[in-house]
């Protein structure tokens, strides 16, 4: 390759160039500075970096606070140690095995825990971490108990010497470990970069941003979270094997809660969700104890102080990660006609009955508006149709009665062809406009985690299609100029429009809009009305809740009026406007006094 082709390739692969640029100094360091103690410290920092990168996937990218990460580090270390001691397993085989063992445990823990709410999840992981540590400590015959295991083999590499090829094992010299750890850090960072810029990475970010909205847009939230957990655990397992082979002695004390918090602090310090942030955090907190050797007694004190000050003054970390936001298969796309039918839907809880025997029919290609006074039950109705709430009686059917919607999870309802927007605007604020829309395609494509990391053909093809169609959709709705802007920076009217585009990206036959023009000025309102008409013209039925009658009446084919959980009137707009029952519901009876 000649010079300019090399440059072009370099620019086209930003991840490789970043990884090489930032880690090259470390690769070259031993050529000029050979102090074995310093190299040893840096190797330790490297192991921390691997751990931080792994935890960053769980905490930073998916937004799940994990306080028991040291347990997976321990599983990795003990797995390799046991395989090596009892089965003479060489390091290079033990390394992936440890990763798999840790991943298995991680998945096992994640499956029951993942439904637990944010701060409780943190404590749950803490509990599991302690259980693992105490178990390891107590199973004397297997794990050596508090004394741990010793005599673990170091890695060995074939070397060419005077006697031909022989297997030379690493020794106490830190240099080979240094390069091993550096290479692993580079490889893991690179693969994680690929993940972040992929369909799964986008899904993880969306989950962190707004789990509820992500689920409603078709992201399989629980499954994706478990995937993040598994991946993070795998990486911890790898680090564990390296650690065990380097120390050759391991004991349960090294894998305590303080270590879990330390790794977490590294991730948070550098910036949650930021890959280089995790590495930077590992570097700072790994090197700091060495630099402040005289203050060793104050280490924990300073550590606690750093965490407190960081959260108060710079919670996004040094490099600026993302704050943890709100607590958010092969698909056969049936072509349905967007007709929905609700019969006798009722819901009540705690003495309140927001829905009382509600009946409604939406025909294909209609725009139906749902109006009614405050507290009539309109949003409850929407939530029941989209799976965020359950009806107690009645049925909700879609696609000419063929698909029953009541009781299904939001993700399934989306795949059946019903998408929605939210009254309080739940876009993914820290993702770009394009990424927001692309989430809509998540359930319409098949690639998974492995596809994303390994950049298989299927992933590349699907991503191209996703991005191209997302751009088209943005163009159609008039937002293509802002495609790469951060969604949070858009004007309010554009954000509402983005939410509609995102819902359209899910490929629905029925679109539910919850107060689509709330808070907009008249110009924006008529623009959105026009968009809604064009959506209908594309063959998508539209069902909307709105309060602004100047928008509702000219736009709708039919208006349904709800009051006190029931339908009290329906028909074309002009009829409904004059209906005395409707007027009474809003303005009160003429005899009221």
């Amino acid at each position: 390759m000649n010079g300019s082709a090399l440059k072009a390739w370099w620019r086209k692969h930003p991840f490789i160039s970043q990884v090489v640029t930032y880690l090259a100094p470390f690769a070259l360091l031993p050529l000029v500075h050979r102090n074995p103690y310093h190299l040893d410290v840096l190797t330790g920092v490297g192991i921390y970096a691997i751990l931080a990168l792994g935890l960053n996937v769980i905490v930073g990218t998916a937004g799940l606070l994990h306080l028991g990460y040291a347990a997976f580090f321990a599983i990795g270390a003990y797995s390799y140690a046991l395989l090596n001691i009892h089965a003479d397993c060489p390091f290079w085989l033990g390394l992936p095995a440890s990763g798999v063992a840790a991943m298995a445990l991680g998945t096992l823990i994640a499956v029951p825990s993942i439904r637990v709410r944010g701060d409780y999840l943190a404590i749950t992981t803490l509990g599991f971490g302690e259980i693992v540590r105490i178990t390891v400590n107590n199973l004397d015959e297997w794990t050596g108990g508090p004394n741990g295991l010793l005599g673990i083999d170091r890695p060995s590499l074939p070397m060419h010497g005077p006697d031909g090829w022989t297997l030379r094992s690493f020794s106490v010299d830190p240099l080979p470990y240094y390069y091993l750890v550096l290479a692993m850090t580079a490889a893991i960072a690179y693969l994680l970069f690929r993940l972040s810029d992929s369909k799964i990475g986008r899904a993880l970010t969306a989950i962190r941003e707004d789990e509820l909205a992500a689920g409603c847009m078709g992201v399989p939230v629980l499954r994706t979270k478990i995937t993040a957990f598994a991946l993070g655990s795998f990486i911890a397992g790898l680090a564990g094997a390296v650690y065990a082979s380097k120390q050759t002695i391991i004991s349960p004390d090294s894998f305590d809660f303080v270590l879990s918090v330390l790794i977490l602090a590294m991730v948070v310090l550098g910036g949650m969700g930021n890959i280089w942030g995790a590495a930077l955090g590992a570097f700072v907190l790994g090197v700091l104890p060495e630099v402040l050797r005289e203050f060793a007694a104050y280490r924990m004190l300073l550590f606690g102080l750093i965490m407190i000050l960081m959260m108060i003054f710079r919670p996004q970390g040094i490099l600026g990660g993302q704050l943890i936001r709100r607590e958010l298969r092969p698909v056969r796309r049936e072509v349905s006609d967007g007709a929905a039918e609700v019969k006798g839907a009722s819901k009540s809880y705690g003495g309140v009955a927001p829905l009382k025997n509600m009946d409604l029919v939406i025909h294909a290609g209609e725009i139906v508006s749902l109006i009614g006074p405050n507290g009539a039950g309109k949003t409850s109705f929407f939530n029941c149709v989209t799976g965020l709430a359950r009806i107690d009686a009645g049925r909700i059917a879609f696609d000419g009665g063929r698909v029953r919607l009541d009781g299904l999870a939001p993700e399934r309802i989306l795949r059946a062809g019903v998408a929605r927007t939210f009254q309080n605007l739940r876009i993914f604020r820290n993702m770009t406009v394009l990424e927001n829309v692309a989430i809509g395609y998540h359930s319409r494509t098949r690639s998974g985690l492995l596809d994303a990391i390994l950049r298989t053909r299927r992933h590349r093809v699907e991503e191209m299609k996703t991005l191209r169609e997302s751009l088209e959709l943005l163009g159609w709705i008039g937002l293509n100029e802002q495609a790469n802007e951060i969604a949070g920076c858009l004007s309010y009217g554009d954000q509402k429009r983005l939410e509609i585009a995102r819902a359209l990206a899910c490929g629905p036959r029925l679109l539910l809009l919850d107060e689509p023009v709330a808070g907009m000025n008249p110009t924006e309102k008529s623009a959105i009305s026009a968009v809604i008409r064009r959506i209908r013209d594309r063959g998508i039925s539209v069902f909307l809740i709105e309060h602004d009658m100047k928008v509702v009446m000219p736009l709708s084919d039919r208006v349904v009026v709800m009051d006190d959980g029931r339908k009290i009137a329906e028909g074309p707009p002009d009829k409904v406007q004059c209906d005395p029952r409707v007027i009474a519901a809003y303005l009160g009876e003429p005899g009221d006094a």
């Binding site: 006074p373 405050n374 009658m549 406007q577 007027i583 809003y586 303005l587 009160g588």
Partner: protein
């Protein structure tokens, strides 16, 4: 007594109130009407200190109260009965009422006011030791109003007292509201049920999408065609 001048309030990016101005004189009942999303609750929250306006002033008895903490607003004599009543479900009726008098130090006065509340809402006396969560919607509304009265406010802010209540109950609540006003209490009443509100109020304002679009004497507002279109659009 209560004056709102050119108040603008934002929720995040949305301009909720755009230059709202209204006034309530001593001893009046003034109604604030409008459809959902018009901003009526935001006006009350701005008055009671739960929300800070981004521009404009709110004056009570000549002193500014915009941006003042809710506790201080209560101390000055403005009591807000929030939308949805928000009584303390796990506390008894008596405890709810006692908390209404949280800031008061005059034991005898408090006891006298308690009797007065019982006279207004006898059912509360019957359910004195029951947990507030077990009361019906209408009873909770009476409790919420009674609780606000316990602070001996000069102005009472009522947010949608008819919400979710059966028509019979609504009529009796409004009868009591009229009674409270007759005793000399100034009331600012936010309601969606325009007819009901106009039957008790002396003056009214109509809020539409954050702006006052109509104001005047109650009968004039009631008969104006703009009210109907403000709610139902079109003509």
């Amino acid at each position: 007594m209560l004056e709102v001048r050119h108040v603008h309030t934002r929720y995040g990016k949305v301009d909720c109130l755009k230059g709202v101005g209204l006034s309530v004189g001593a001893g009046e009942i003034v109604a604030l009407l409008g459809a959902n999303g018009a901003g009526k609750t935001t006006v009350l929250k701005t008055l009671s200190g739960l929300v800070r306006p981004s521009a404009g002033e709110v004056l009570f008895e000549g002193r500014r109260i915009d941006g003042v903490s809710p506790e201080e607003v209560v101390r000055r004599g403005v009591a807000h009965v929030p939308e949805g009543r928000k009584v303390f479900q796990k506390l008894t009726v008596l405890e709810n009422l006692e908390l209404g008098a949280y800031l008061r130090r005059d034991g005898a006065g408090v006891r006298g006011d308690l009797e007065h509340v019982f006279a207004l809402f006898p059912v509360l006396k019957q359910r004195l030791r029951q947990r507030a969560g077990t009361l019906s919607g209408g009873e909770q509304q009476m409790l919420a109003i009674g609780r606000a009265l316990m602070s001996r406010p000069k102005v009472l802010l009522l947010d949608e007292p008819s919400l979710g209540l059966a028509p019979i109950v609504v009529s009796s609540i409004f009868r009591m509201i009229r009674e409270i006003n007759r005793e000399g209490r100034t009331i600012l009443l936010v309601e969606q049920n325009a007819r009901m509100a106009l039957s008790v109020a002396k003056r009214a304002y109509v809020l539409e999408l954050g702006e006052i679009v109509l104001s005047g004497e109650a009968e004039a507002v009631r008969d104006s065609p703009e009210v109907q279109s403000a709610y139902l659009g079109g003509g």
